[in-house]
């Protein structure tokens, strides 16, 4: 039983294509263990990915999968779920994929309370294309396209998704994989509404290197040291928070999902 989550893992695809020290493997493990805790059947689960480092996550799953286009994993998942409502549909997107090119789909899926779980691996940059800045890249950071320091402000993507009306939103980090697993489990166990998990992760090859955040183990410690629980966030001012990762459950509300509402309309004609 201890390793029963391995039924989701495509072992012959290992070692993964992710760089040594990348946090995506930690996140992958947290997801698979959470799926196991929820007793998800392999045959009833669909993993939907977009494009990017984290967009390769489907390669490591034995479940049904859809590896789609950049930014469009959420609409694809919407169709998958609406056409076969009994499925567990888990979307895996990066910050470039989900918060930047696909940002419009993210906020509308949250508003609509589309009955899917979205797990965003946030490494603050486009790792696969060479470390360019994304919609979550913090101001002043160095990336391959902000060589003099990033001039834009970043999204707190979890706060944004919460404001859009999602039923469940939590942010964790790969420095605390058990906590991450707890949030993911809670999201997956819900039957209704839009669920969003943001996982702060490391990027040793690009973002962490450009910003001199240390080797992979040092970066994990760095992430831990910058973590602030959401309950304590009020103790910090805006400037102080800009260099912190505010983790925890952003929202945990009973909501009606899209399908619940739509099925009420269908039932009028039964």
């Amino acid at each position: 039983m201890k390793y029963s989550w391995k039924k989701y893992l495509k072992k012959d695809a290992l070692p993964s294509m992710w760089c040594a020290g990348c946090g995506n493997g930690i996140l992958l493990g947290s997801i698979m263990r959470a799926m196991d805790e929820c007793n998800f059947a392999v045959a009833n689960t669909v993993v939907v990915t977009g494009i990017g480092c984290w967009g390769k996550a489907d390669d490591y799953f034995t479940t049904h999968a859809f590896h789609g286009t950049h930014g469009r994993a959420i609409p694809i998942a919407t169709g998958i779920k609406f056409a076969r409502t009994s499925l567990n549909v888990i979307v895996m997107v990066g910050d470039g994929d989900g918060a930047t090119i696909g940002g419009n789909h993210l906020i509308h899926a949250a508003r609509r309370n589309t009955d899917i779980t979205v797990i965003m691996s946030n490494n603050f940059n486009y790792g696969m294309t060479g470390g360019q800045y994304s919609g979550t890249t913090p101001k002043d950071s160095l990336t391959s396209t902000s060589p003099y320091g990033h001039v834009e402000d970043e999204f707190n993507i979890s706060a944004l998704v919460k404001e859009c009306g999602a039923g469940y939103v939590a942010k964790g980090t790969v420095a605390s994989p058990r906590k991450l697993q707890k949030y993911i489990k809670k999201a997956l166990a819900r039957e209704n509404g839009f669920r969003f998990i943001e996982a702060i992760t490391s990027c040793p090859t690009q973002y962490d290197r450009y910003n001199k955040l240390g080797k992979p183990t040092e970066r994990l410690k760095d992430i831990s040291s910058k973590t602030v629980e959401i309950e304590k966030a009020a103790e910090y001012n805006r400037d102080e928070l800009s260099s912190k990762y505010v983790v925890g459950e952003y929202t945990d509300l009973a909501v009606e999902g899209y399908l619940e509402r739509y099925e009420k309309i269908q039932q009028k004609f039964n």
Binding site: V42, F66, T69, P75, T78, I80, F82, H108, Y262
Partner: protein, 379 residues
């Protein structure tokens, strides 16, 4: 919205006939974004799909619409969307995705005058090449072109059947005129429908992109079954997992093209009017073919041997038909609401036969008189 008589006859708008056909063909999922002159199709779907246990969802944009349609298709639904040229421009990346993952789906494009926002309420036929080559990379698609409300119905049913048969996106390429006009049509009680070939091998042996050598279309297994379905927009092997090896990718792209192009003669639908002895052959489609027919009737009554070849399938392009008539006709006239998109395709196949264009991009349909004066000039 059009009304239905009690019997088989119905006085319907072209767009509504498309919607009615989708229901008859067994469609259960629509995702779309409103755009003139196609919006009646979305409205029709929103009214009717929930009554039949199906679903309508209005997405945040056309990128999302086609994404949801593809996802629903891979869950096993017959799925469709409706838009106009600007919407197809936005959908194009994922139309290639539909080709690549072999998701059966129907995309209705009620063409309006472009480029850009153009003339939102005016008909055009300027998206002919867009429907073929809008998405990047080598691929194949099917596009059907109704020129009457009856054909809006009949060819939409056909579009769903082709989508299922060949596991491919199929365009129903209307124009603002045919989509918006009303005619009395007959709606059969039942229509012939197809559903994609389902895999029946033992689950552990199932490979989502395995295909028979003689047909090239993989058997399907929907999400949620013991046969694990893996759709992949990137280069993939028969198991659906990523595979970027040169030999595999070469074979994949060739198969996606060949599975449709090899069946060209089966897919290409057309209507011939007085073609048998025609010396001047009008080749057209959609609303322009209606004016072409009137021009043929005028020519015949004036002793000119004219005929009309009205294409119902424009993609794959009916090379064989054009080649056949190039042996017989002395001149070919191609009337269209674009600056020669169809004429260019005809020229590629017509050998030494002169191909004369009658073009218009004003947002106003071609009148028979405009085609007649071309015939008069030449004969």
């Amino acid at each position: 919205m059009g009304f239905r008589d009690e019997g088989e006859k119905a006085f319907l708008q072209g767009n509504i006939a498309v919607g009615e056909a989708a229901l008859k063909a067994g469609a259960s999922f629509f995702a779309g974004y409103p755009i003139t002159p196609s919006s009646e199709i979305a409205e029709h779907a929103s009214i009717n799909l929930p009554k039949k246990g199906g679903k309508y969802v209005q997405m945040e944009d056309e990128l999302g619409s086609i994404g949801a349609v593809i996802g629903a298709s891979m869950s096993g639904a017959k799925a469709y969307t409706a838009t106009s040229g600007p919407g197809v421009s936005l959908m194009n990346e994922n139309i290639g995705l539909a080709c690549m993952v072999e998701a059966p789906c129907v995309i209705v494009n009620v063409q309006r005058a472009g480029p850009s926002t153009g003339l939102a309420t005016k008909p055009a036929q300027g998206d002919l090449l867009q429907s073929r080559w809008g998405t990047h990379g080598d691929h194949a698609v099917i596009a059907l072109t109704p020129s009457s409300v009856q054909e809006c119905f009949d060819l939409t049913v056909k579009a769903f059947n082709y989508a299922e048969r060949f596991r491919t996106p199929v365009f129903v390429l209307l124009d603002g005129l045919v989509g918006q006009m009303y005619e009395t049509i007959s709606i059969p009680e039942k229509v012939e429908t197809e559903y994609r070939k389902l895999a029946d091998c033992p689950p552990e042996e199932f490979l989502p992109y395995d295909f028979p050598e003689d047909d090239l279309v993989p058997a399907f297994a929907p999400y949620g079954g013991e046969r694990i379905n893996r759709a992949n927009g990137s280069g993939h092997g028969r198991d659906g997992y990523a595979d970027s090896s040169p030999d595999n990718f070469e074979m994949l792209v060739n198969r996606l093209v060949d599975k449709i192009e090899d069946k060209k003669e089966e897919i290409c639908l057309y209507e011939e009017h007085s073609c048998q002895d025609a010396e001047v052959l009008i080749i057209s489609y959609g609303c322009s073919a209606r004016s072409g027919l009137a021009a043929v009737e005028w020519a015949r009554s004036n002793g000119i041997k004219a005929g009309l070849l009205n294409l119902k399938t424009v993609w794959p392009f009916p090379d064989h038909l054009i080649k056949h008539y190039s042996q017989q006709a002395k001149k070919i006239i191609v009337p269209e609401l674009s600056l020669g998109q169809l004429a260019g395709e005809v020229k590629k196949q017509a050998g030494n036969i002169p191909v004369l264009s009658v073009n218009k991009t004003s947002g106003v349909p071609l009148s028979p008189a405009e085609i007649i004066s071309k015939i008069e000039e030449e004969f």
